[in-house]
């Protein structure tokens, strides 16, 4: 993976979590470019303006958020056509749920290509290595 083309998007309304995740990624791989968003809406606007089909986007997405929650965000991306070139798979979403509600996990199964992984907070070091593609 090359440095400037790959982006990591942290989307979580909990600033402490965003900070913790940011720190953990930097500890494991400080070459990564990371952007943080407090809700799905801000992340959606960012992708709408700055999306490049050549880029790679790894998303860490919380579900319970104000303005646009995780599922609304995924559905919004789908409606806007972001998943049309799903062969390229340059957008990979990891759900980082604060809940242990089994319903969320079922929902994640409805997007098998787009949603790469489903994790429950907090993220362990091993989870993060999996997300960053260092393992698995």
């Amino acid at each position: 993976m090359e440095k400037n083309t790959d982006l990591i998007l942290l989307i979580d309304d909990d600033p402490i979590f965003n900070w913790l995740t940011y720190k953990m990624i930097k500890k494991l791989d400080d070459r990564r470019t990371i952007k943080t968003f407090a809700n799905g809406h801000d992340a959606f606007l960012f992708l709408q303006e700055g999306y490049s089909p050549k880029g790679g986007y790894t998303l860490l997405l919380d579900i319970n958020m104000p303005v646009l929650n995780g599922w609304e965000f995924v559905e919004g991306l789908n409606r806007a056509g972001f998943f049309r070139n799903s062969k390229e798979k340059n957008i990979g979403i990891n759900i980082i749920s604060s809940s242990i509600d089994p319903m969320d996990k079922e929902k994640a199964g409805q997007w098998p290509i787009i949603i790469k992984g489903y994790f429950t907070k907090p993220l362990e070091i091993d989870d993060m290595m999996l997300i960053l593609g260092h393992k698995g």
Partner: protein, 345 residues
């Protein structure tokens, strides 16, 4: 004059109520000619007859009754004997003078009458056999009618019959009166609309129309009914077409399920509260806990801790995870309540 006992046969005694010796011996001869060994009991007056009928197990097959006794006669006598006969067939032995009375008494339930001057063994025998046959058929019919009437009247569940055109009540049972609070007279002046809340009239018309189309299943559905007190109850309705007094009618069985229904609603409300609690556990309580665990995870990849601090971090993480397990357990248990999971997201 006490009863005179003669021979015996299996199926009950023939009671001959006759004061005239000549007439009695003639009847006895005729009977014995056709019914060898018949058990014949003679009572010579009304008093003896009453004693015998009210005595110990008078297993009587048929009563032959003369209309002129020293202590009773005519229609009064017939009525009295009918009242005590316990449905045993009565055949009147009549002279020409009593023909009118004999014919009238048929209306009261006497089986037959025979003119004494025309009597012969054959006629007497045939009259006896017909009376017995007819009587057993009638009593069978009466028994089954009574049985069905009682099934209706004493059914523990409210039942009624209504006219499908006018919707008027045609009959109601005791349980319906007890449940709805109206007496029979009030019910008979009402239609089935009157036990429905006004706002359900349209639904009533629809359901009656639908029942006309679909008569395969007796179950009509669950409806709201109004009691005389104004209270509402939930009832499961089963109905069937029947003939009632010669016309088309519908028989309805109403099963009061108000308590069952309320019970289910209470349980559902409790389930909703439990789901709420599970949701709170899953989202609200777990959020700060997962933050704490996340901080510990980050601290773990820092270098240069003392042994003590490392140990403390491990313990902190262990306790946090234990608490997480407890929350997870609660959420899982609540999810089992009805297979549904929290619907809020």
């Amino acid at each position: 004059m006490g009863p005179i006992y003669n021979g015996h046969i299996g199926e009950g005694t023939i009671l001959v109520v006759e004061d005239n010796d000549g007439d009695f011996f003639l009847v006895e001869d005729f009977l014995l000619e056709k019914l060898r060994g018949a058990a014949i009991v003679r009572c010579g007056n009304f008093g003896d007859t009453v004693d015998y009928l009210n005595g110990e197990n008078p297993d009587i097959a048929v009563i032959l009754l003369d209309l002129h006794l020293p202590d009773a006669r005519g229609m009064e006598l017939v009525k009295d004997i009918l009242g005590m006969s316990n449905n045993v067939p009565i055949i009147i032995l009549s002279g020409y003078a009593d023909l009118r009375t004999a014919q009238e008494s048929l209306k009261l339930g006497v089986s037959d009458y025979l003119i004494k001057d025309d009597l012969n063994p054959e006629i007497l025998y045939r009259a006896l056999i017909y009376a017995k046959e007819r009587n057993s058929y009638v009593s069978l019919l009466q028994r089954s009618t009574k049985m069905y009437q009682e099934l209706f009247d004493f059914s523990p569940q409210p039942m009624w019959v209504f006219d499908p055109v006018s919707l008027a009540f045609l009959n109601v049972n005791k349980s319906a009166m007890a449940t709805y609070g109206y007496d029979k007279e009030e019910f008979m002046a009402m239609t089935i609309r009157d036990i429905r809340p006004k706002e359900h009239y349209r639904a009533l018309n629809d359901s009656i129309a639908e029942r006309k189309e679909n008569r395969d299943t007796p179950f009509a559905g669950i409806f709201v009914h109004t009691l005389k007190s104004g209270d509402l109850i939930q009832v499961e309705i089963y109905s069937n077409d029947i003939m009632f007094q010669g016309s088309d009618a519908r028989l309805v069985l109403a099963n009061d399920v108000t308590e069952k229904y309320n019970h289910i609603q209470t349980i559902e409300a409790q389930n909703a509260r439990l789901r709420e609690i599970a949701w709170t556990q899953s989202h609200i309580v777990r959020a700060p806990l997962s933050r704490i665990l996340g901080i510990i995870n980050l601290l773990e990849i820092e270098e240069g801790y003392s042994q003590d601090l490392k140990y403390l971090l491990e313990q902190l993480k262990k306790s946090g995870k234990e608490m997480d397990m407890v929350i997870q357990d609660i959420v899982e248990r609540t999810a089992q309540i009805d297979g549904k999971h929290g619907e809020k997201h």
